[in-house]
Point group: C2
Chain length 273, copies 2
């Protein structure tokens, strides 16, 4: 594991690491924000959306100031396996930059695309080897495809995650184009296999022990066709899981939206971890 950047930020450090991922069989990068002091630090994962790397959120979400105040480590993973040997596609919603936090079963994706296991197995061990982390569970949040990742990973791995929130998440991928086309490619045509990566299905079948915070902009251009957070709110209500779904008037899908509410999310996780 090689540290390729370490830059002081809000009293702590922004760090970028490169490593050979045995699980994904390629070189991967991730970024950290590490507050000042000796720790222990509570970890919060920020999963990014389509086309992103660690860099978008680390440079544009403005999460580090509140994380510094809350003594939380921020972990910014990449969104897919990477490199010339890794399958890709011209569709920005498929292939590199679009791992959808799942384990693909279909060719040519199955050999590298295992982002759910990367986030929950390999990456936590790497981070724990670098930093003094607090006992207990991590928080997880994310934006768009990363909101899908945060919700689905939290509910699938509740022994790892103690708090979950999301910005403009894809919540019903088995029902919307961003999910159906991509799940067909990664998982095949057997739709029963898709459900384990659908947040609406997971909240109904697995539930969640605590409450969930979701922000979405009322002017998000992907709101009606791709995100449909009301489907998640309805499923959560039926499952008796309290969800705070905030429609933020006039906000869009960009990091200008994310940064406007990131402080709320950091405080929300800090109160629950």
């Amino acid at each position: 594991m090689e540290q390729i950047a370490s830059v002081k930020l809000h009293g702590g450090t922004h760090q970028v690491w490169r490593h050979k991922s045995d699980l994904l069989d390629c070189d991967m990068e991730f970024a950290l924000f590490v507050p000042q002091g000796d720790g222990p630090f509570r970890p919060l994962y920020f999963l990014s959306g389509l086309t992103c790397t660690w860099e978008n959120a680390a440079t544009k979400a403005g999460a580090q100031q509140a994380a510094a105040a809350a003594n939380m480590v921020l972990i910014f993973p990449d969104t897919s396996p990477r490199g010339d040997a890794v399958a890709n596609d011209e569709n920005y919603a498929l292939g590199q930059g679009a791992g959808f936090y799942m384990t693909a079963t279909q060719a040519p994706w199955a050999s590298h695309y295992k982002m759910d296991r990367y986030i929950t197995e390999e990456l936590p061990a790497l981070v724990a080897s670098l930093l003094p982390l607090a006992e207990g569970k991590a928080g997880i949040t994310g934006h768009s495809m990363g909101g899908h990742g945060a919700l689905t990973l939290a509910m699938t791995y509740p022994h790892l995650f103690g708090s979950v929130s999301a910005f403009a998440p894809i919540v019903a991928p088995t029902q919307v184009p961003w999910g159906r086309d991509i799940f067909t490619a990664y998982l095949g045509t057997e739709e029963d296999e898709w459900q384990r990566y659908d947040a609406c299905h997971l909240i109904a079948t697995r539930g969640w022990e605590d409450d969930i915070l979701i922000d979405v902009g009322s002017d998000d251009p992907f709101y009606a066709e791709q995100l449909r957070p009301e489907l998640f709110a309805e499923a959560a209500k039926a499952a008796s899981v309290p969800v705070t779904l905030r429609y933020q008037e006039g906000y869009d899908h960009s990091y200008y939206f994310v940064t406007s509410f990131i402080d709320d999310h950091i405080a929300w996780h800090a109160a629950r971890l």
Copy 2:
């Protein structure tokens, strides 16, 4: 003038405008942050550094949150004239992205490179046509080459600017490589002509009515050769102008440094305008 983006941010709006600049004889873009409400708003200019457009500071400096709280409009100009008809150079410190906030007198630069006049004449009129601005002077700050711009424009146009601060500014361009090579290209070899764009010369000859805030990172790789802020502190002391020069331990030259201290600068300007 055409609005090419308007995105909600921290209760206000991030706006991007494109216009034909009569002064620079090319199309230009600039960004604004406009707080919520009806105004009037106090204006603060943020001048960016080498290679930047309006976008770097608008997306990475994190200035808008504090500006919203202080009811201040942020104005993010581009750093040079732009376009295929505008002279350029392979040197990143010369030509497009490197206007140095001056009026060039030498070919091929003289026909478009007038960024000092653009910032102090054309742009304020455009902004005033769009927004209800508070009576009185504007604040001005900037980073690196933009710190040079902020200091030199404030002292040259004290009727326009009531507060000035800078992040890692070039303060003595007539004495350092980033200035000498570039000033030769833009202004010719007659060094007396360079002095009007040298902050150390201006503080000695024109002075400044108020105090000045400068932050610089102790790990800034450009500190010793290109920035040399202690030269400005010495010149200001000789001119009896109070300068708060803060050496921020461990910080570098990046926007990670800028965003770590931007709230201080916004508050500092808000207290003085």
